[in-house]
Symmetry: C2
Subunit: 493 residues, 2 copies
Amino acid sequence: FLEPAEHFEYAGFRGLLLSMVVCCIVGGALRFFGRHNRGGQLFQKEAMAIVGLSWVMATILGAMPFYLSGTCTSEGNTVTFIEAMFESQSGFSTTGATVLTDLESPDLVPHCILFWRSWTHFLGGLGIVVLFVAILGQGSAGKAMMRAEMPGPTKEGSMPRMQHTALVFAAIYVGLNMILTAVYMLEGMSLFDGLCHAFGTMATGGFSTYNASHGQFAQLGEFRGALVDYTTIAFMIAAGTNFTLLYLTLLGGPRKLWADVEFRTYVGIILLVTVGIVFFGMKAGDQKFETFSSSVRYGLFQVVSILTTTGYGTADFDGWNNFGRGILLLLMFVGGCAGSTGGGMKVIRHVLFYKILGQEIERAHRPRVVRFIRIGGTTLDDAHLPHAIVVYFSMILAIFVFSWLLLITFEPGSTWGALETDSTLDEKLLDSAAAVAATLNNIGPGFGVAGATQNYAQFSQGAKLMFVWLMMLGRVEVYSVLVLIFPSFWRRN
Amino acid sequence: FLEPAEHFEYAGFRGLLLSMVVCCIVGGALRFFGRHNRGGQLFQKEAMAIVGLSWVMATILGAMPFYLSGTCTSEGNTVTFIEAMFESQSGFSTTGATVLTDLESPDLVPHCILFWRSWTHFLGGLGIVVLFVAILGQGSAGKAMMRAEMPGPTKEGSMPRMQHTALVFAAIYVGLNMILTAVYMLEGMSLFDGLCHAFGTMATGGFSTYNASHGQFAQLGEFRGALVDYTTIAFMIAAGTNFTLLYLTLLGGPRKLWADVEFRTYVGIILLVTVGIVFFGMKAGDQKFETFSSSVRYGLFQVVSILTTTGYGTADFDGWNNFGRGILLLLMFVGGCAGSTGGGMKVIRHVLFYKILGQEIERAHRPRVVRFIRIGGTTLDDAHLPHAIVVYFSMILAIFVFSWLLLITFEPGSTWGALETDSTLDEKLLDSAAAVAATLNNIGPGFGVAGATQNYAQFSQGAKLMFVWLMMLGRVEVYSVLVLIFPSFWRRN
Ligand SMILES: [K+]
Ligand SMILES: [K+]
């Protein structure tokens, strides 16, 4: 007596309940095995290991609802466990890449699973802002990123101060999610859509509940559609901003924002790239670039979406001119600000990298003049910082190149649909690079087969597993995962 | 009473004579203006500036024969001055990229111009091995690259020692050119072909006298064709080896070769990549990969040709499987050994970069243990070396990315022939990356429109000018050219 869709919705609900049971069992077991732990201080390496292992566990447990509910990637194809892990990792890491080809069919994806999917974004984003305080805020590089101005008890890195900061960050994050949901509903979304898209925006995640992604809301009409787009742009920019800075702005007004070199650079990049995209888009006569106002609306949205690593789409940038496509591919390697929910390499690392290079070139000319790197008016006295930045950049490059080589070598041509011709060969090389960049930097959409209007369903199981790994590596900023696989890390000094 | 071809050959001869007159006038004028120079010691920055300016002048003067002879890029299209500069720069920088579409037509390219074209390779290669001693051998990074074992007067960097070393290098270079010409002639080439291809091989240049590049010699028959191919492979490997090492091997036998970490890595890369290319090529059933012996012959040739930055082709790697294409694209960024005629980033820089990264990761775990980078059994005591390497890598990356963005933005779609479709968009992004990589690293052939069986004629004049610049930047290892444009360099301390 149940309709098929209702029956499937019930299966989704049962899947969620079963997953909760699994979580309770695993959690209970871990608590039981760790019952003799007396608390005490965590060492940095232990903290990093906990982050890495927790992320692995969250990925596996978060995959349960998709797997146990029998969610389908497409007609007749139930998700494999690897695909469930992909969806779960993509959620927690706020990447927003998906293997589900039809979100709107209640016979393929139950509504409660769709909500769980967006909820993983909310949890992932919350985890990131809190982890940033707990882990990254400890090291000197992290301190440089977090600004020394953060109010709280004076003893740096002390427990009460960290807890206080984490609480403030969490409050800002939850507050912004609530405000955005309310704004969305005022603009005409349902509660369900409002919540899911607020989670997707504030976590810089990018999961939508529609096949057309954020582009769906163009159906709200010319005015309300534009309003929703600009609302999302504003909140994506906020989500990609350092939460310390958001807090200071709440206390002291927007003057604080402009005093920050990372924020200035971040806004500068958005403006500069948007100008370029609007100019070349209108010149090439690309879709949505017919009028100036439309160009700004769609150009700005895509730039902010990629830079903040949200990955929502309102236009198919895959069909844009080559300047547009090329610069978006480069933007994937920039990312949001440190201490935000945004992924990627972060603006501050690029600023520091640029300063380090400038200093080195200067030093080659005048070896005897000792200079320090100044950022935001304060001198960085940490001699290790340049090394940490350079190592990070090199690791990202190495992981990118190696993953790309793996993908182009082992991914079958059938992923690209047609028989292999010269042009699919080119497409394969390029799409693979974009897919690796989009997952490693937690963006979501790439080019071509995994482009703005497509998804990751076509890729082989092996490739999907690699993407799961890349999303995790990107999200926990490489180190926390790598320490797990380098045994030398575990040797005591 | 002259045949058109004979008449054109005469024009070529006249062009060469006129160019000599121009050179004499320019040289005489420079000598006149510098007549009060009393000799004396050169400072490093002056030496670097001389290298940069000489290269600019050589490019312009070397372009004269092409321009004054009225050489044609294709039927009815006489070279522009930019195209003449492209051909000249490509020769001196031993890149071997060309804008001449039909080398075999005596109505388009006179034979004496064809010889001049190959002769610029010879001169360029000679300049590089001597410059390496004079310029790079002075800095500490250069010393690390040159090995301390080089015999000669003991006072390091002293004039007599440098002159001695430069003379030894030049003698080895000229000797190898002569031997290779003789071997080629024994294998069935004409004196003209033998000389031109010996110049192209020993300078790691890659200019051929045939449209089919080195592949032409397959016409010598199965056995003799293979013989020529393996001869070229052997001499390309020699040309990509540090000349210090070649000299030491002449004195002390091949044991010296294996003691060198850069040479071991270099040979290791060749073997490893060839195994991969043969395996995946045979698996994919690519052209020339029908039998194992053919796979090894053609796979090895292309790998050595790209790694040593020679750029000769015997197979169209553009049609290979994606592993083959992808790994060749990556190899473009490796290059030959330091102190060879090979271009690119050089194997030793990659070895050092890898060691620097390893040290940094180690240091992150154990901050208190001070370690030094050891290379070939000796400890590098230069604290500046890691910085120099990192800056160099970053500069190459920055130049690559920036040039790529320029090319995809401003190069018209008509370069790719057809109307812009989705697949030409992909091709454009990829071909542009390959063309920038192939010119910046002095390889020559790239992918697609500038691929193994194609040339650079299709590109716009602006793009050609950019390639001239990139070839120069790559060849003089970035620094010497950049100092010319940074005014801060010229301020006295
Ligand atoms: K995302
Ligand atoms: K070359």
